[in-house]
Symmetry: C2
């Protein structure tokens, strides 16, 4: 049996009951150091500078992930990473997560343990010291993971989308296009004869070894670069969730500017989603921190949100279904 399939055996949530499941899952989660942890009506989290940032995101089986393509640990990792990335995009340091999961009664407990492992691995890798401080476990016909993440601004102003100024440098941190390439490969080769996601097809075509598929399953957002950007004077910043072009359009409209791209970026880098890098603007004389590199400049607002070589770039996403012949597989 493939290691990826192992969680799908053993006693189920319905067989063991909520209390036993909670015990087994909670012990695998990253603990962090909340002032009051799980087990009371609320957790208590420190907010040293008198504020906290908060973001929430829900992942549902089907539209947001497929068990045929992602292991439980992958799903936990991605749920943690995408929320931590939103915290970083404000310039904040992650200070805690709460996680609500709704699972079918016949879900093996090992699946929930795998998700907890993914949360722990992601937090250890991306935001060490942060922890899951509270949660909820429910029943649903659709497997659902809802995460709310918090962060500490460390006495700095939050970096909003609206602060870019004409003459600022446009910069990005994190790899571009890899998650989208991985998803495209899953759509093309990770499906059965009916075009449905298939674990067997993933194994047969070696997609588990594809590094871009790995980035789709387990994004590695540059969390530490968020606070570094804030400290370096970033004037605007956001998380790249829907693709550089779409997200740059959001930043441009919020800041009432036009962004000019000068770097050589291919279509997938420009339009592929789920990279979870950081797009930011900095004063022209700023030293770009961490993994940030210059990709363009901020112009006065013109007809387009985004231009390259004087021509408007569509602020749209890249459709991973485009080269996928669903039914024919």
């Amino acid at each position: 049996m493939d290691a990826k399939d192992e969680p799908w055996t053993g006693p189920t949530v319905g067989e063991l009951g909520e209390l036993v499941v909670l015990d087994r899952v909670t012990s695998r989660l990253p603990q962090g150091s909340p002032l009051v942890g799980p087990g009371d009506d609320c957790a208590v989290v420190a907010a040293p500078d008198g504020r906290f940032v908060v973001t929430t995101d829900m992942m549902v089986h089907g539209p947001d992930f497929r068990w045929a393509w992602s292991s439980p640990s992958d799903v936990g990792w991605k749920a943690a990473a995408t929320n931590l990335s939103d915290v970083a995009a404000m310039g904040a340091v992650p200070s805690g997560l709460v996680v609500a999961i709704a699972a079918p009664q016949d879900t093996p407990v090992a699946v929930l343990e795998g998700i907890a492992d993914g949360f722990r691995l992601a937090v250890d890798a991306l935001a060490p010291g942060c922890g899951v401080v509270g949660g909820d476990l429910s029943t649903s016909s659709a497997f659902t993971v809802a995460v709310t993440a918090f962060g500490d601004l460390q006495d700095r102003a939050p970096v909003l989308r609206s602060g870019a100024r004409v003459g600022d440098v446009l910069a990005v941190s994190g790899e571009l296009g890899r998650a989208a390439r991985g998803l495209a490969r899953l759509f093309r080769s990770g499906v059965d004869a009916h075009g449905e996601p298939s674990r067997a097809a993933v194994v047969a075509t070696g997609l588990d070894e594809d590094p871009d598929v790995g980035r789709q399953r387990r994004p590695v957002p540059p969390i530490a670069d968020g606070p570094l950007a804030a400290a370096a004077g970033a004037t605007a910043m956001l998380d790249l969730s829907d693709g550089l072009a779409i997200d740059a359009g959001r930043l441009a409209r919020s800041s009432r500017v036009t962004l000019e791209i000068s770097a050589a970026l291919d279509d997938v880098a420009l339009h592929g989603g789920e990279d979870h890098g950081l797009l930011a603007t900095f004063p022209a004389d700023a030293v770009l921190p961490g993994g940030f590199r210059r990709i363009g400049v901020v112009l006065e607002r013109g007809a387009a949100d985004l231009v390259r070589d004087g021509v408007g770039v569509p602020t749209t996403g890249w459709d991973p279904y485009a080269d996928w012949d669903g039914v024919a597989g």
Copy 2:
């Protein structure tokens, strides 16, 4: 057409698209006064004393609510009220909510607007000044509402479940047993010939006018009594979600004491769930604040968590299915 059915007509989420739906829903939500509101990667919320309390809870259609029994506004109200109650049970004042909703694509937008109305009405009634500071909208085959709520301890220590001391007074705020009575009536009379929840049966049997059914749909937790209890020196407190006996058992075990009930309380008051009142212990000489009234005393830990007239009371819930003959209706 009954007013309760109106949200189930009109354009759907899939027809209007996420952006239009978000616009229409967001404008109906309680706004509060966050430092940074919705629209960026994160909201920013004040935490004046350098800490915040946080709780999360997920409600799923089927196990947690039924459209045949609750309007969208009822569901929004209850999602807000139950989370606000957890915040109050720490002695904190609610400072914000984030809400993630996953809805089938064919859900009329009016249903989401109704949920937003319920959030606004509940917050206005129970925690004025609090607001929904962020959210997420997804697609799912199972209608799901996940809420995370925050609160401010106002420089007081959080009131945990573990602080009850021998000799303390045991007190409760909020009505007992009404939500459970309402649910029992819905199970008994709000069903069709196959025992399935039925809007027509609810209308035919006048359950919309039943005040206990109203409490089941729209609990009215005594939110303001949470901070009042903390200020009055409460030594332990929790939210009554699963029934007084179960929840008293939790407080007793956490505090390593036995609780003696002296008040005359019937079985539904003792064992009925979803009241969302507050159970607290106070020093013997404390003046009980707000709606709190004495129902017993804290004893040294004995063989039982909970006793009455020297006899152990089972710390179990009350089963609303008990007198419900499902299939026969």
